[in-house]
């Protein structure tokens, strides 16, 4: 039966393992930088004192209204706050480096959610996407690459019964699909609402956005918004790209191009508008579409470094460097 075969393939062959590992590492980094960039203002923004932006008792009221939790509500002691903030930061660093596997990722998710709740006025679309995607990542094998694995983790995994371990692959594929669908939803919705806006229809939206001081790169932005052609091109291509992104992803041969366009688009958003966190979050999620390309890039990089080492060994005094070469097969093409 053809349908059953298809189901079995989807249930037994993990997709985009390399890409989703990249997503995890980059999202970890963006989370870490959220802590780092607010570090100097941490007690004013998130601390429990009365002279903070949102005093502790008002924060508790807000939390009650939204019906959620935050570890920063546990105590109004400044010491506990400092401990929690730094633990959260360490968890983010561990996720970036790939230490501790999915349990640490879950801890990081809880800490980051707590921080967002403590001061929701700082959030943007990137943080919104982050809080939705991290739980999806928990389903995936996002620690297979770009990670420092511990023997303890391997031993724990071996103890899990075989039937339960078998569920890992379909869960992984579902998690990757969920991230892909979420990305399509983000792009389509933001594209279709732009279609309805006057400034986007006129092709002048970029002119207006780039002049707003909060999103301006002084000295550079004016070269774009004072050039009619760039404004038209930028505005219309933004809308076209956003609306047609799902199609670009569904057609396999267009997929890397759609992802590359998205990365280019968000690099310019990060650069011109200063929305680094948002831009990198989107780019991180784009990586799930780029697994084969990432694998090829990694292999090329490995070959290059191997060749360089060989050359160094041949030109050097000893021949011992040859066996330091990394195994090329580690990057599986999936």
């Amino acid at each position: 039966m053809k349908l059953l075969d298809k189901i079995d393939t989807w249930a037994s062959r993990p997709v985009a393992v390399l890409g989703v590992s990249g997503t995890r590492a980059l999202l970890g980094f963006v989370g870490l930088m959220f802590y780092v960039s607010q570090y100097g203002d941490r007690s004013y923004l998130f601390g429990p004192g009365n002279d903070t932006l949102l005093p502790y008792h008002l924060f508790l009221d807000e939390l009650r209204d939204s019906g959620t939790f935050s570890v920063y509500a546990w105590s109004n002691s400044p010491v506990v706050f400092e401990v929690l903030f730094h633990l959260g930061m360490i968890a983010a660093l561990a996720v970036t480096l790939g230490i501790g596997g999915r349990p640490v990722l879950a801890v990081h998710a809880i800490f980051l959610w707590s921080l967002y709740q403590r001061q929701s006025a700082l959030m943007d679309g990137g943080d919104n996407l982050m809080q939705l995607v991290v739980p999806m990542l928990l389903l995936t094998r996002c620690y297979d690459h770009f990670s420092l694995r511990s023997p303890l983790g391997q031993r724990v995994i071996r103890r899990i019964p075989k039937a339960l371990r078998a569920a890992g692959t379909p869960l992984h594929n579902l998690g990757v699909t969920a991230i892909a669908v979420q990305m399509c939803l983000v792009y389509m919705v933001s594209g279709l609402y732009k279609v309805q806006g006057q400034a986007w229809q006129d092709g002048t939206a970029l002119f207006y956005i780039m002049r707003v001081p909060e999103f301006e790169l002084p000295g550079i932005s004016q070269f774009v918004y004072n050039n009619d052609l760039l404004v038209y091109l930028g505005t219309y291509s933004t809308v076209l790209f956003l609306v047609y992104f799902p199609m670009g992803v569904l057609v396999r041969s267009l997929r890397p191009w759609a992802a590359a366009a998205s990365i280019g688009f968000h690099v310019s958003i990060g650069l011109f508008m200063g929305l680094t966190g948002f831009a990198l979050t989107m780019i991180a999620c784009d990586l799930v579409f780029l697994s084969p390309e990432l694998s090829r890039a990694l292999q090329a990089a490995r070959k290059l470094s191997a060749r360089r080492k060989e050359k160094a060994a041949a030109g050097g005094t000893g021949g011992s460097a040859a066996h330091d070469r990394e195994p090329v097969a580690a990057a599986s093409a999936d």
Binding site: I7, D8, A11, S12, M33, S37, Q38, D41, N50, D51, L53, L54, P55, S66, G67, T68, A121, L122, M123, D124, G125, N128, Q131, L132, K162, L164, A166, A167, P170, L171, N173, L174, T177, A178, V181, Q182, L185, V186, V189, S190, Y193, K194, Q196, G197, Q198, A199, W200, D202, A205, F207, Y208, I209, R211, V212, P213, E214, N226, L271, G274, G277
Partner: protein
């Protein structure tokens, strides 16, 4: 068929069904206002809030076109009223000076203003319709602010006032305390596209004064 295969098939199919349901609800929540959406709103909220809440109307349908911000003045403990301080400026400066993960302090003001102006989609549509009808039948009452809108606005003003208060703690010198603060919101419109090449085109500034807030009530 092995047990492994059975487990894999079951997990995949059940999971796919759950994901399908989840994304149907999430996508529906992002559609424009419609009778169906109004009817289903309690159901959507019950499922999506707070953990799956999302909003992807990024710079859409209308992008930010104006430079909004706040200035504020204070009243010291001896009754002297200070001059106005630029509250927004320094945080914008921080963003513009740092391209890599800039401080997000400027969001405090822009999100506060956004909260002040926020309303329900349905109310916005009704008010827009009334506004359009007004041209034909002048003198019709606009829809007043609902209690929850007044509460949100008051919260936003408190939030902005608290931020202003903490940013201008040097305003009262000589051992006096800053006792109260008043925020003024400005909306600075730059010349529109059609006037981009007109050297005589002028900016337009609208200002809205918020009530005085006692420092003691804000903390």
């Amino acid at each position: 068929m092995t047990a492994t295969r059975r487990v894999q098939r079951a997990v995949l199919l059940v999971g796919a069904a759950l994901l399908g349901a989840h994304f149907s609800i999430a996508a529906f929540s992002q559609t424009p206002l419609s009778p169906a959406k109004v009817q289903m709103a309690p159901l959507l909220d019950a499922y999506l809030q707070p953990y799956f809440s999302q909003n992807w109307m990024l710079f859409a349908p209308d992008p930010v076109m104006v430079d909004q911000g706040i200035i504020a003045r204070g009243r010291c403990s001896d009754g002297e009223v200070t001059k106005y301080y630029d509250v927004t400026g320094p945080s914008i400066q921080r963003v513009q000076n740092d391209r890599l993960f800039p401080s997000r302090m400027s969001r405090v003001v822009s999100n506060g203003i956004q909260q002040y102006n926020s309303t329900d989609d349905l109310l916005r549509r009704l008010r827009d319709q009334k506004e359009k009808g007004k041209a034909k039948k002048p003198g019709k009452n606009p829809i007043p602010l609902l209690p929850y809108e007044k509460r949100t606005r008051n919260q936003a003003v408190n939030y902005l006032s608290r931020y202003a208060l903490t940013q201008m703690d040097q305003a009262c010198t000589g051992g006096r305390r800053l006792q109260a603060v008043q925020v003024r919101m400005y909306v600075h419109s730059l010349p529109p596209w059609s006037q981009r090449d007109n050297p005589h085109a002028r900016d337009k500034v609208d200002a809205y004064e918020f009530p005085w807030k006692e420092a003691a009530d804000l903390q």
